[in-house]
Subunit: 226 residues, 2 copies
Amino acid sequence: MGNDKSVTIAVLGGTGNEGGGLALRWAHRGYPVIVGSRSAERAQEAANGMNATLGREALRGLDNVAAASEADIVVLAVPYAAQRSTVEEVKEKLAGKILVDVTVPLVPPKVSRVQLPEGGSAVEAIQKLLGDGVRVVSAFQNISAHHLTHLDEEIECDVLVCADDSEAAEQVVGLTRAIGLCAWNAGPLCNSVVAEGLTSILIGLNRRYKVPGTGIRITGIPTGQE
Amino acid sequence: MGNDKSVTIAVLGGTGNEGGGLALRWAHRGYPVIVGSRSAERAQEAANGMNATLGREALRGLDNVAAASEADIVVLAVPYAAQRSTVEEVKEKLAGKILVDVTVPLVPPKVSRVQLPEGGSAVEAIQKLLGDGVRVVSAFQNISAHHLTHLDEEIECDVLVCADDSEAAEQVVGLTRAIGLCAWNAGPLCNSVVAEGLTSILIGLNRRYKVPGTGIRITGIPTGQE
């Protein structure tokens, strides 16, 4: 499914930097993409901007509920404070689908300090809320939005993909590789605590070294063996 | 201090693979190193073996308490199950020193599943136990013992160093770079939850790809700017 370009991807929070960057990259590679937002109008504006960048009508904008309803795979890229309420809002539209959660549980102003939610990762609470009928996958927490939006830039950051359903994990690994990123199946959903927390460490390094977007690479796996 | 080779380093659990690899590397670079173990005899045997590898009397072996007592910097590289008891045993000898904790809170048999201790990281419990008189630093969790013991091998894994005392963190960054590893100040001690958990993800990748030791690299910081 990762390379099946008939799959429609909705990015909730696609008007933000991280969600917008992902939406743009998938559209650029030929996937039908829906930008979701609380406001259908702002979603369409964002989609229009990206279509202008790409020079074709590759994206459209809808409110989050409609976007989730029309998509095969739903990506959640909203701020941590809006994570739970957004999922509750679209819950009925997710049955049988994969939800890819990009949420990083940052607690401003100390965003370079790892502050985990009660119980570990932010994504596990969402899987619990949705139950077994939705396959929740965690991914993309460490990818700098700065890099995503520069389409021609090679992104020097690997993606850790965590899920309890390994088939869903492999689909998201495929969708990630489709936009030129190196992705790894990093194990069960609870392992997402590492990917979520790592973002705070990277933000700290960005500040210390005055760079726009540090990242991580997995080493020790021979090329071609992935 | 990181480059001051008069500093004596004790590695508690230096008879194990990870601790032994670190001890060997520091001794190889000219630091006076003490191998610590519950048994002084086994510690001396391990030290003898490493001295034979190096071709000179660079290490000696002592029981953990004597090793901690004689060292300037104490490295704790024991299994998670022995972490707390070892620290309690040597506590009186650590006053005013830096304790570098290498502990990974693995819970066999599910070692590729991130299973964090109550409250977050394993190292924070040790800092709490020791109080403000000991500067606890977390480091080396992600370095494969396999790579450490091959002295001529370049290790393709960066070290995340976490500490609440930033001067202590910088000293450990220096000691890490002294053995040819790339090290980063990754922020406060609580951020160690990421380094500790990451080891489970790397163990999972080792198994999946049948390789001896995956690792991580931090990207996005220009060479020479570290």
